[in-house]
Amino acid sequence: MTAFKSLSSAMVKGFLRDKMTLFFVFLFPLMFLVVFGLLFSDAGSDKTKIAAVGEGPVLSALEQTGALELEKYGDEATARQKVNDGDLPAAVVVNGDRVDVTFAASDQVAAGTVLGIVSGVVDKINLGEAQVTPRFTLEAKPVEDASLKPIQYLTPGILSWAISISGVFGAALTMVSWRKKQVLRRIRLAPVSATTVLSSRVLVSVGTAVAQGVVFVAVAMLPMFGLKLTGQWYLALPLLVLGTTAFFAIGMLVGAFCKTEEAASGAANIIILPMAFLSGTFFPVENAPGWLQVVSNVFPLRHMNDGMLDVLVRGKGVEALLLPSAVLIGFTLVVGFLAARLFRWED
């Protein structure tokens, strides 16, 4: 058995036998995926609920628009009271041919929506009664827009985040604990090159990342979450590998500075948590202020997220990999170089 193979297998065994690591690499991010996935599962705009009094074609037509939900009341006073109390944004009272709309002045957007729909319906019925041929015709059809359902958005983000955790923590903790326990010294005293040791450790991290990808995507694709992969989802694979090496390099840098496992975990958390939030792991970074979006570009996780979103759920092709890959490779080289310069065999 070669040194490379046996080192890799030793590390895989150590990884699989350590329940704590398994938890943080798989279950912990998965918990976020499940919680957020369930929380946001019936998001999308709700129908606007309004009070309605009376009956007739106007009310039936309003119900068919699909944008309003009518709450029927027996008398006008109760319906108006609902609006006054702020429970409902508007009340529609139909009394024979007369349609009265009362709306809460506080919510201009809801009022505008309700007024627009009601007047549209009333006008249409009037037109039908008048038997006039309309001059303009309106043609409306739906398109798939670029905004994503929450699970579509969450899965790539949380996967990238999980890979950053396993990459940074894996590298930093291995290095610190091996140095502290003198395993590095033992390796240094053996006729084996540093490249062999390093590459076997990176290989284990890459394997972990691929396993994370498979598990998270499989869970997200369960009917209760409903993730749908698009097009060339397998393009995520190069991103997984490049992301892992970039985060591994960060971990090596952390490991070069820290003397104890506790210090290394603390430092890794300080790096990963802000990076995760600013890189759009849990919510789209587009909602953040402009300057923050600019700042977020310094994080490799941001670019990995973007790439993952593009190839996993936005159906983009290989061209979407170019920028993220370039950034991740650059990051790996620069940070890796720094880490190599700062590397210490022992304290």
């Binding site: 058995m1 070669t2 040194a3 193979k5 046996s6 080192l7 030793a10 590390m11 065994k13 150590g14 036998r17 350590d18 604990s177 326990k181 003198q182 395993v183 010294r185 033992r186 390796i187 240094r188 005293l189 053996a190 006729p191 084996v192 022992e346």
Partner: protein, 304 residues
């Protein structure tokens, strides 16, 4: 190899300073192949730094080291397979069993997996082969650590305080292991702060204090060189102090509540004289030890 054999270890006047502290201050020694060489001294004497320089883990500020004719510094991949270094009892891979540890370290040297089992047998851990390292006792971990240093069948073995922090039983078990290693023809260089242990195990010892070697020879030679008197201890009452002082060869006799202690540099005739009188009750003979040598060399009690 023909002609004169190259010594296993040659250390020539090595020095290492840490700031003001002269950790190693001009140490020289030579160890022959197959020899069991002990470096002993109290904590902070410079034993570990000396060993690390010899192993090639640290660069000496001055001086020269060769192992089997090769220089250990800078890292010398040609030499590495020939030396085995035992490290702290905790330097293992996480969560691996005793056998897996040995297989993994062995693979770094291209050693077959079978060797792991041979090593476990050598250090008496065959029945612990499938136990994870963190579940072994201190003594077992220490033995596993030594097995890891031996897994690639090195010619020279370096052990840094292998018996420290072990209970007496575990220490004695380990002595057997060390003797078995020497019986395989290995050269052993080891540090300890147990003087009694060095006396039992080592062919030669170097006594170190404050970065220097104070004396170096076979333990028995060092002790004999002291020319310290032997103490013969008898039960109180079997002989009077005056009668004891009259025996030829006795230099002094002291009495306390329980015993009579006779000092002599000629223990053989004194003992036979005592035997003739039938006064050997409660006999104990105490010869000088390395501890006395240390006291003699440094003028202070040995502080382990």
């Amino acid at each position: 190899m023909t002609g004169a054999r190259i010594p296993a270890v040659v250390v020539a006047d090595i020095r290492k300073n840490y700031g003001e502290l002269k950790a190693v201050d001009g140490v020289s020694f030579t160890v022959a192949e197959g020899e069991f060489f002990g470096i002993l001294g109290p904590n902070g004497a410079g034993k570990t730094t000396t060993l690390e320089i010899v192993e090639g883990l640290r660069k000496a500020d001055a001086g020269h080291v060769t192992l089997l004719g090769e220089e250990p510094w800078p890292r010398n991949p040609k030499l590495l397979p020939k030396i085995g270094v035992q490290l702290q009892a905790s330097s293992f891979f996480e969560k691996l069993t005793a056998r897996e540890q040995l297989q993994t370290f062995g693979s770094l040297y291209g050693v077959s997996r079978q060797t792991a089992d041979d090593m476990l047998e050598l250090v008496g851990l065959t029945d612990k082969a499938d136990v994870q390292e963190n579940k072994l006792s201190g003594g077992q971990r220490q033995r596993l650590s030594i097995a890891c240093a031996l897994v690639h069948d090195p010619d020279i073995v370096f052990l840094d305080e292998p018996t420290a922090a072990l209970d007496p039983q575990a220490r004695r078990n380990l002595w057997d292991v060390l003797r078995a290693i020497q019986a395989r023809g290995k050269t052993i260089v080891y540090t300890t702060h147990y003087l009694d242990e060095a006396e039992i195990l080592c062919d030669r010892v170097a006594i170190m204090d404050r970065g220097r070697i104070l004396a170096m020879d076979a333990p028995a030679t060092l002790v004999r060189g002291l020319n310290a008197p032997t103490h013969v201890v008898l039960q109180k009452g079997v002989l009077t102090r005056e009668a004891a002082r009259d025996i030829t060869g006795v230099e002094d006799a002291q009495e306390d509540e329980v015993s009579l202690t006779i000092s002599t540099r000629k223990p053989a005739p004194v003992l036979s004289a005592l035997a003739d009188r039938g006064t050997l009750d409660g006999l104990q003979v105490r010869t000088a030890t390395l501890e006395d040598v240390f006291l003699d060399l440094t003028g202070r009690e040995y502080r382990a």
